[in-house]
Amino acid sequence: MIKKNYIYILGCTCVVTLFSCKHGEGEYHNITDKIEAESKNYHGTSISSEQLLEGIETIEISEGPHTFLIPERKGQIKSYACTECHTKPLHQLKINDTIKKAHWDIKLIHANLNTMNCITCHNGNDMDNLKSLTGNTIDFNRSHRLCSQCHSKQFEDWKGGAHGKKVAGWAPPRASMTCVNCHNPHKPGFDTRWPAGFNTQKVKERE
């Protein structure tokens, strides 16, 4: 009889333990599981960034598995096409140094001079296009291909979306800035500068 009671109490305890401590934690163990499960039936949303991209001329590029938009470049270069001035190949245009140079303000601060100079990227015989290390033509609109020759790691991250910025919003269609939208190709590094602001109240609060 006592043994029966004992089993009964044990049973009850088991049942109570099973049902009592229900946390409000939902059906998923963690956020990664949740994202995985809930995105299985993803069919897009009604939010689109198309409207935000209006007025920005873009071109579609496909690099590996990624297809997305980047801003069109040639229209943004002030004096494109270059051949409007560079009517002859560069070596024929060369005259004495007394005339002020057109690109006097450009100083190349990109790698060192053993690695790079102007003709690493520019072709003196075809100023309207860029050139790859092996001498192939690269369009100004697809300058990321030029950069990716050396910066392959950054290129991988950029294609996936870990490097760089979006043009407008997070919503599809994806439109990402291309390399030269943030980096000056002749001086790609970011300067040191002062922060945007200083919080004087925070200092007072912490006194």
């Binding site: 934690e25 956020i31 979306g161 490097h163 919503a171 800035m177 922060p195």
Partner: protein, 395 residues
Amino acid sequence: MSGIGKYFKLNLNSATKQTSGSCGCGSSSGGCGTPKEDTSETSYGCANTSGGCGSQPQSQTHISDEDFDAAVDAAIGEGPKKDGFDQVFDVQMDRRSAFKKLTASLLIGAGAVSTSCSVTTGEDSKEKAQIDWEEQFKGNYKLMTDEERNATVERLVRSYQLRKKKNINMSSKDAEKDVLFGYAFNISKCQGYMDCVSACVEENNQDRNSQMEYIRIHEMKDGKGFKFEEADDNYYHEVPAEGHFYMGTQCFHCDNPPCVDVCPVQATWREDDGLVVIDYDWCVGCRYCMAACPYDGRRFNWSTPEVPEEEINKNQHYLGNRMRKKGVMEKCTFCVQRSRAGKNPACVEACPTGARIFGNLLDPNSTIRWVLENKKVFRLKEDLGTEPKFWYFMD
């Protein structure tokens, strides 16, 4: 609980016994509705609101099941729909807050009566009084129907128009289906320029007097790991400084947010797209959420927030950057007014280095998903189980 009685019948000699037990299994939401001792009388006895769990109904021999269910429903915000009056007054509260609410309502009521009965006051002030009256007795935003939400937004827009003679644009756009917002922060890219901080302040109409900021950028020494107590979050020198790296913190929009659990009035909650938001008109300013947040994500308005008229961002959202008042909490909402319109939050847009990545976690083709799947990501205090939707990574 019907008729006019509910508006003034206060049990001031509250002798309600508190019978809440504690079982440590963390009930997920708000109050626990301690059943009343005397069911024959409308009791507003000391509220036992936050935190606790399952008070034992068995010990209350003379409470009917119906009443108990109603009390539980009321506590968890379900059950029959209540209008604004009910939501304000038909809850358990202590004497102090009861007096406070009554006084505030009386003042507004008196104002409304005096202006509407007076022949000398203009139409504008009558309308203002009417708006104030309706705003005072509106319900919790979470429980409002779409019409009620539109109505309160319209009132707030009109009120601003009447007071400041300027038009604002306020939205009450709901969470979209199949959207879960997530954020990634690249520690190797952040240079400490703090452009995000100033963009955030401008976008979200934070108080300029107290210089409230949602985002903190911590300057940390290389090779020392994440030592927040040794980091400087208010530096002013040329950046990036030699031998330092920078990391930003803000509200992480936890998927299991502890701040929501502790709110005694359910003025803060998690939306379906993952944003943790606050109803500024429902917040009582107890700052429990501020204490509960392990990431210092929440800010409190110690004084009435002031923003110069020309600097006010007039593109607003009810749950986002509309003007707050004194004594309420606020925090980052991933710029709900922008993100729900497809834009990036202001901090993401302002960042010159591309250290901030924002997107839809449920879209398998989104860039945020690529980051989570291909970079070595981590989150802060992951062991707490708060499931922040804010990941850090390095190049």
